[in-house]
């Protein structure tokens, strides 16, 4: 019962249920929080993509090194 009342009160007065301490800002139109959120969200993805790209480049380089060449001299085994 109490839980339902709390939910109803939150629906009726959404401003009072605003518990995010970082969402309030004294300056109108301040978008720093948005930019910081975007920055921190995209940074690990960008880093992972960079690392993946580096691995891909190294794998290609390594594959070029080990690719068999038709010009390899024949080896005779007795």
């Amino acid at each position: 019962m109490i839980r339902r009342l709390v939910v109803l009160a939150a629906l009726a007065l959404p401003g009072a249920a605003n518990a995010c301490s970082t969402c309030m800002d004294p300056r109108e139109g301040n978008r720093t929080l948005l930019w910081v959120t975007i920055f921190l969200s995209l940074l690990p993805l960008g880093l992972l993509a960079s690392i993946g790209g580096f691995f891909w480049y190294r794998a290609r380089t390594a594959a070029a090194v080990v690719a068999p060449s038709p010009d390899l001299p024949p080896v005779e085994i007795r």
Binding site: D25, R27, F54, A62, V65
Partner: protein, 195 residues
């Protein structure tokens, strides 16, 4: 008459895609980038949320932008010297010793300036507890300074191993990556904290 077979040589296993030392350093740098990104973001957020005219807080000293800019140049030149060391090492690892010595001297100068600045600011009352600005300043700049000090130690160790002919190319690559990280992180800190 002995039996004989002719085959074509074909390597069955090539070199590893990435050496263990370099992989470990990549993982470490990844974690470190996120560590500093969190602090720099928090600093930017606290500054942006402060009432107009209250950031930096009144009473906090003005940070020495020009002197720190000079230290920034020294650090960037140090990164260029390490880059040159990497190029010189392609032909011969021992050839990296001289540019590494230049990089180390510049890094010591940078660290020395930071110590001087910390002593001067803290003696003037700007401390870790004096304000949120001071807390962020000493945490972010201090953490970077610790990285720079550890990098100087590692560069010294690298010189010793190079002289003894024991340094592997993989270890040298990992050390260069770490120094590039320390060098390239600083402009981000400088523009956020000092400017």
């Amino acid at each position: 008459m002995a039996d004989s077979t002719t085959i074509r040589a074909r390597p069955v296993k090539g070199p590893p895609i990435i050496e263990s030392e370099l992989l470990a350093m990549i993982i470490f740098v990844f974690a470190d980038v996120m560590f500093f990104a969190g602090f720099i973001s928090a600093y930017a957020l606290v500054g942006a949320r402060a009432p107009i005219g209250w950031w930096p807080p009144p009473g906090d000293p003005a940070l020495p932008v020009a002197a720190a800019g000079g230290a920034t140049v020294a650090l960037l030149l140090s990164g260029a010297a390490v880059f040159q060391a990497g190029r010189a090492a392609k032909a011969d690892l021992a050839a990296a010793r001289r540019p590494l010595a230049v990089a180390m001297a510049l890094a010591v100068a940078f660290v020395g300036y930071q110590v001087f600045e910390f002593v001067r600011l803290s003696s003037g009352g700007f401390t870790l507890q004096s304000s949120a600005n001071g807390g962020f300043f000493y945490t972010i700049v201090g953490a970077h300074g610790l990285h720079a000090v550890s990098a100087v130690v590692v560069l010294g160790w690298t010189q010793r191993e190079l002289a003894a002919g024991r340094l592997t190319r993989a270890a040298f690559s990992a050390i260069r990556l770490y120094w590039y990280f320390v060098v390239l992180l600083w402009p981000a800190i400088y523009t956020t904290v000092y400017l």
